[in-house]
């Protein structure tokens, strides 16, 4: 069954690493673990300089409702709490840990809990303790998403295995190699949410993964390969024909969406009390010797990851965290991998383009999956007419990049929208 949402684009997929099994990268010598790796308030530091930590030691405690705990990903000594380059927000407070070359885990790591006996609250607490966040990219604290207000009845849980970003194959590999664990994790989520239906959403360029899931008897919806198929609202629309209202959340239409990687991480958290200290990501691009899917400790500097992948080819001009459509270009080669890092792209070329005048071709209007008029919003933002930008829906923009991708004049529309949004928010705070 192929279903669809309006708009979207189909960039070259370039998924060159889909046949490469996940490799485990050894622990690095030093990690830089930011206290803010999630949507919401940064975690409160719990350690200080010269403290000894083990793998899994909680070094940052969640602060407030929307926040997540942070744990040490290697065992060793805390060198300090410093400002360090951060892949999303420029710089932020990070805990620097130097390895003592041992693989000492925290003591209370349990083996194989019988998850069937756990209550809803126990599962939720385990997820919260482990600092699980959405691994699809936005890194929203998972325990928050699993605790919708009572009046919002959730009937459907969708597990997102679309991986619609070109190049990235980490979720694909995870689905092939850890099928059973993902399903078990998803079923835990289903129990917590008391959702009637559990649906696995997989794009039709990953039929092998879809087959594996279908064989186990779970419900799989195969979706057309189209970007941004994995965006929550578009996914819900394509599968359930429900539209999340403007400014609303999936729970407003009785739905919750979780990424496949999150299910896997949550299962390990519930079953073994394993905190989120590593994640699978794709390393790709013409600027790196060996393209791979690897399991990397959170906090590993990207330079170490590249070294593990054979080093740079030539001198890199571009370093992108995430996919080519929504990823974030990095300015420093020592930024750490964080919980939400789904891929590392290294390019030898900067692929610079020159911006031309808008020729009103309307490609952006046709491509926008949110039904916006990107060219109109862009001209209002440029004229600093933020009220008009808001009335044309700049806040509805999901920054998927479809408009800028198709723009024949190479206008950096997403750049203008990010700026426009920040200005609208700033004005509304005043």
């Amino acid at each position: 069954m192929l279903t669809r949402f309006a708009g979207g684009v189909h960039p070259p997929e370039d998924k060159n690493t889909e046949d490469r099994a996940i490799e485990v990268m050894p622990a690095p010598k030093k990690v830089y673990i930011p206290f803010s790796q999630h949507t919401g308030k940064p975690a409160k530091p719990l350690v200080q300089k010269d403290d000894e930590v083990k793998i899994g030691t909680r070094i940052g405690e969640l602060d407030g409702f929307i926040s997540a705990s942070v744990h040490a990903s290697i065992s060793g000594k805390v060198l300090g709490i410093v400002e360090h380059p951060h892949p999303i927000v420029g710089t932020s407070l990070a805990c620097v840990i130097e390895s003592n070359n041992s693989e000492d885990w925290i003591g209370d790591l349990q083996t194989d809990q019988d998850t069937d006996k756990l209550t809803r609250t126990q599962i939720l607490d385990a997820v919260k303790e482990a600092g699980i966040v959405g691994l699809g990219g936005a890194a929203f604290p998972t325990h928050v998403k699993l605790s919708p207000p009572k009046e919002k009845k959730i009937d459907t849980l969708i597990i997102n295995g679309c991986e619609c970003e070109p190049v990235l194959t980490a979720d694909h590999r995870l689905m092939l190699e850890y099928t059973a664990q993902i399903i078990e994790g998803a079923q835990l989520f289903q129990r917590v949410l008391d959702a009637r239906t559990l649906i696995f959403a997989i794009e039709d360029n990953k039929r092998d993964a879809g087959e594996l899931f279908r064989k186990t008897g779970v419900e799989v919806v195969q979706l057309k390969t189209k970007y941004p198929q994995g965006a929550e609202k578009q996914l819900i629309k394509a599968i359930l024909k429900r539209e999340v209202p403007r400014g609303g959340l999936p729970m407003d239409v009785g739905c919750v969406v979780h990424n496949v990687g999150t299910c896997y991480a949550a299962l390990l958290a519930v079953k073994f009390r394993k905190p989120l200290i590593d994640r699978v990501l794709t390393v790709a691009g013409d600027g790196v010797k060996r393209q791979k899917n690897i399991l990397v400790r959170v906090g590993t500097p990207v330079s170490d990851v590249i070294e593990y992948c054979g080093g740079y080819v030539g001198s890199p001009k571009r370093l992108i965290f995430g996919g080519p459509m929504m990823g974030i270009a990095q300015y420093a080669a020592n930024v750490p991998v964080i919980k939400g890092t789904s891929g590392i792209l290294v390019w030898q070329q900067a692929k610079m383009v020159e911006e031309g005048p808008c020729v009103r071709c309307a490609s952006c209007v046709d491509a926008c999956p949110m039904g916006l008029m990107p060219t109109e919003i862009c001209s209002h933002v440029r004229n600093k007419n933020f009220d008009m930008a808001k009335s044309y829906g700049v806040l509805d923009c999901i920054e998927c990049g479809c408009c800028a991708y198709v723009c024949p004049a190479c206008i950096p529309l997403v750049h203008y929208f990010k700026y426009g949004k920040s200005e609208v928010w700033r004005k509304s705070k005043q």
Binding site: A6, M325, M326, A332, R360, V414
Partner: protein, 339 residues
């Protein structure tokens, strides 16, 4: 606090997305130009090398004026984007093949200088420059613009004497000027005549004669999604419907293939810059063009109505865009149900 560690690599930072589709403005302009070439080659075959000369003059003046204006205004010279070439070509397509050589030069200069560059250049002009050029020439030298029809040497319109100096549409408008009205009208709606009109063996503007080649080029552009089908379907659909409903002496097929309708519907009304960006707006725009064309052809003073209908709708484009905003995903109407 420790100092932030520095890095040696020269990394380039920009906002996402980091990949772009290959269809750039200049490429699209070139593809449209290529889609018009079959009609140009056919017109050269019909009316002789004179057609090529007029086209080249038109293009040279368009490109030259663009460069000159940009230089005078202290802007970057962007003639490589191919938009001026296209304007020159389209203007030539809208001229009778027998016009004096200076006419395309003046028309192109007006189109580029007044209709395009003075409004800010590519993307900022509110009316189609080529059509503005044509309208300017029509107003200034009406006799040159309506009388210089040449006999197509590649074939003749069978059975009607004297039609070689008139277009089928002017015959339809004032049949009494060319002989017995009843006979002329009957012959115009004849299968053989319509076949000649379809293949282009008739008098007319350089680019409008061959319905066949325009259709091939236009459908090619729709296939590549450079031309939006909504405008074309809206235009031709409303046109056909009205011609069929309203009293006119020409048959539907005659009206569809005669004159500049296909050239206008596929290549002029669909100009990116001067047509609406909303999907609903593009339907309205196309339908508006169709309605105005029919009104001019049936009740107006001109035998043809395509260029003025498009120019009029160009003027309405900003208004149409404002009144037909797209429905934002998840937007509810006031009653709380989906619009």
């Amino acid at each position: 606090m420790e100092k932030i560690e520095t890095v040696s690599e020269m990394l380039i930072v920009s906002a996402s997305p980091h990949i772009r589709a290959t269809r750039k403005t200049s490429l699209a302009m070139r593809v449209v130009t290529i889609a018009l070439l079959p009609a140009l080659i056919f017109a050269t075959y019909l009316f002789g090398l004179r057609v090529l000369l007029i086209t080249i003059i038109s293009i040279l003046f368009a490109v030259g004026c663009e460069a000159l204006m940009q230089r005078m205004l202290g802007k970057k010279i962007t003639i490589a984007d191919g938009s001026a070439i296209l304007t020159g070509l389209l203007l030539a397509f809208n001229l009778p093949p027998g016009v004096p050589w200076w006419l395309p030069a003046v028309g192109s200069a007006f189109a580029i200088i007044f209709a395009k560059q003075l409004f800010g250049g590519l993307g900022y002009n509110f009316i189609n420059p080529a059509l503005a050029g044509r309208a300017f020439l029509m107003a200034s030298w009406p006799s040159l613009m309506t009388k210089e029809w040449l006999t197509p040497v590649g074939g003749t319109l069978s059975g009607i004497d004297g039609i070689t100096t008139a277009t089928p549409l002017s015959l339809l408008k004032n049949p009494a000027n060319y002989g017995n009205p009843e006979i002329i009208i009957r012959q115009l709606n004849d299968f053989d005549t319509i076949r000649d009109i379809f293949f282009g063996r008739i008098g007319g503007c350089i680019g409008e004669t061959s319905a066949l080649f325009l259709l091939i080029g236009g459908l090619f552009l729709i296939f590549l999604r450079i031309v939006d089908y909504r405008i074309v379907v809206g235009y031709l659909g409303s046109f056909v419907l009205l011609v069929w409903l309203l009293p006119t002496q020409g048959s539907v097929l005659f009206h569809l293939f005669a004159g500049g309708l296909l050239l206008g519907a596929f290549f002029m009304a669909t100009d990116w810059v001067t047509s609406p960006v909303t999907k609903k707006g593009r339907w309205i725009f196309g339908i508006g063009c169709g309605v105005i064309t029919v009104i001019i052809r049936i009740w107006g003073g001109y035998p043809e109505g395509v260029s003025y209908s498009i120019l009029l709708m160009n003027v309405f484009t900003p208004l149409i865009d404002r009144l037909t905003k797209e429905r934002v995903f998840g937007e509810l109407s006031k009653k709380g149900v989906k619009k």
